[in-house]
Symmetry: C2
Subunit: 323 residues, 2 copies
């Protein structure tokens, strides 16, 4: 076991160099030189087999996604990724698994130029924890508490694709192999919105990443900002897999909207900002090739929360109606 782990460790080392990394893997701690005039944004996320992903999920997909969900948190603050740590609990006999995992992980890490500066490996049921740090100028962080009445509400990318994949994986909907493969890939090979978010952080004060689902994450914003909101469901950018002819045949409009509203795990950004800043937002979106869609408006708290479909109010699921 120890020998296997040594081999595995090699697969995960050698990516620990970069600006600010004084000492990478191999001592009791890594040593970093923080960038002058910058704050540090820090986040951590865990994926447990059977809870956050199905047993047997492709290891390269998991490697990419484990880092992507952390980069998504950094993007939601507007921070530039600077380093990350990896803690892997994995069953014995996982050598090939780790090679595949490392391929997916470093495909993203190397693209984003973020070094893996440390971590550890333990035998145990499969669980992946990544801790990531980003650098950001003071006062520039986008906060959940900064939404103001009148702000437009925007999302990047599309919603509901991961929800469809999970529904299919649970056996609640049957998809063709082609559509299933598309939804599977969509759910793991997540886009990372770093570049767009760093531009947006220059003028936008409020953002969150959509991990729990639109309803749940909007709720975080509204609670912390003490505000209400109106969402126009017909404006939600549905994932391509939900817009497919096959999905339209298998799911009602309501079911597809529900996946976009409650499905979760899309890891897109939700931002709010005053209408006069919308042109800047759309310019940042264009420059970074990031799809951005306005889906609603922040309201004063006393106006409450409304999800409208073609002008008619839609009831919210229990747990989401009280803000």
């Amino acid at each position: 076991m120890a020998g296997e782990f040594e081999l595995i460790k090699k697969k995960l080392s050698g990516h620990d160099h970069g600006p600010g990394v004084i000492l990478g893997i191999g001592d009791d701690c890594a040593l970093l030189q923080p960038q002058k005039g910058r704050q540090l944004a820090v986040t951590t996320d865990t994926m447990v087999e059977g809870r956050h992903f199905f047993a047997g999920t492709r290891a390269d997909y998991l490697g990419w996604r484990a880092l992507a969900v952390n980069l998504s948190d950094l993007a939601a603050m507007g921070a530039r990724p600077v380093w990350f740590l990896l803690s892997l609990n994995l069953p014995e006999g996982s050598k090939q698994w780790v090679a595949d995992f490392a391929r997916g992980l470093f495909a993203l890490a190397d693209r984003e130029k973020i070094p893996l500066i440390g971590g550890n490996m333990s035998a145990g049921p499969l669980s992946i924890t990544i801790t990531a740090a980003g650098a950001i100028k003071p006062e520039r962080a986008m906060l959940r508490s900064a939404a103001r009445p009148g702000d437009g509400i925007y999302v990047t990318g599309t919603l509901g694709g991961c929800g469809l994949y999970v529904k299919a994986g649970m056996g609640e909907v049957k998809l063709s192999p082609e559509l299933y493969a598309q939804a599977y890939k969509h759910s793991f090979m997540l886009p990372v919105r770093t570049e767009f978010a760093r531009k947006a952080a220059r003028y936008c004060r409020c953002a969150i990443d959509l991990s729990d689902g639109l309803a749940g994450d909007l709720r975080h914003i509204l609670l912390q900002s003490r505000a209400g909101a109106e969402i126009r469901l017909e404006n939600l950018p549905l994932a391509p897999v939900l817009q497919s002819r096959e999905a339209a045949a298998r799911l009602s409009v309501q079911e597809r909207l529900d996946l976009a509203v409650y499905g979760g795990c899309d890891y897109e950004l939700l931002l709010t900002l005053p209408p006069k800043l919308e042109p800047r937002l759309l310019q940042s979106a264009k420059r970074t090739h990031t799809p951005v869609t306005r889906i609603g408006t922040i309201l004063p708290a006393e106006r409450g929360v409304h999800f409208l479909y073609q002008g008619r109010r839609q009831p919210l699921r229990p747990g989401f109606e009280h803000f």
Copy 2:
């Protein structure tokens, strides 16, 4: 489950304030202001049930120890702890467990004045990952690669206590309830050597924390420093539980020494430094009430590695003899 987790989260929040913490728990990331003129030392450690501790281990002990092993890594560099993150995978129905865990965790965190700035909780087999950061002046970090021939080799505290506990837990030795309880507590309520280590880092260039056991961790130092060593086993400071009359009756001298050499999980520090600096080291030890013992000498690489007992060379276990 979600409801229970909300309650659990409350038990782990409210300790996220301190110098340099701009934003604690509750947004996509925590925000930290790095201290001017300091580097950041970062480490992470995981404890998996059934692998790093026996099922049924007291939760308050685990809380203390999960943080202590990370603080031990920071101490081994000479860094001052500044913040930490916690990722908990735990089975459902763990409310009381978390209350106990939090009590142990914050007993140490509050004493060391280190804020818990974020983390996450997942349902899953019990596993505890902590990531901790410390601040340290440039050039002051104690490295595994900095041992030099002629250096004295020193350890803090005592060795082998945790090894005895593990041996008893595996049923390889039978202890009285009193001695078992003493070894149990000794293995989890670890001392933290931060204050001593920060003083030592002013003049000492080489340290490591003893997690794998004396032989294994000395090996890391010798490999990275390209050096040999001579250890005098009669000088090893044995844990009080190993010095007890009961332990002497149940275990041979050789067995007790083996626990000190290979037992692991003592989380004491091993340091090396030139003999002329020994008085300073002993002064730092005295001022911080830290037991420090000289156990050997660093040799040139070509002299090899010798573990001597009363002048006679002891063979090393397989895996440790080649450096």
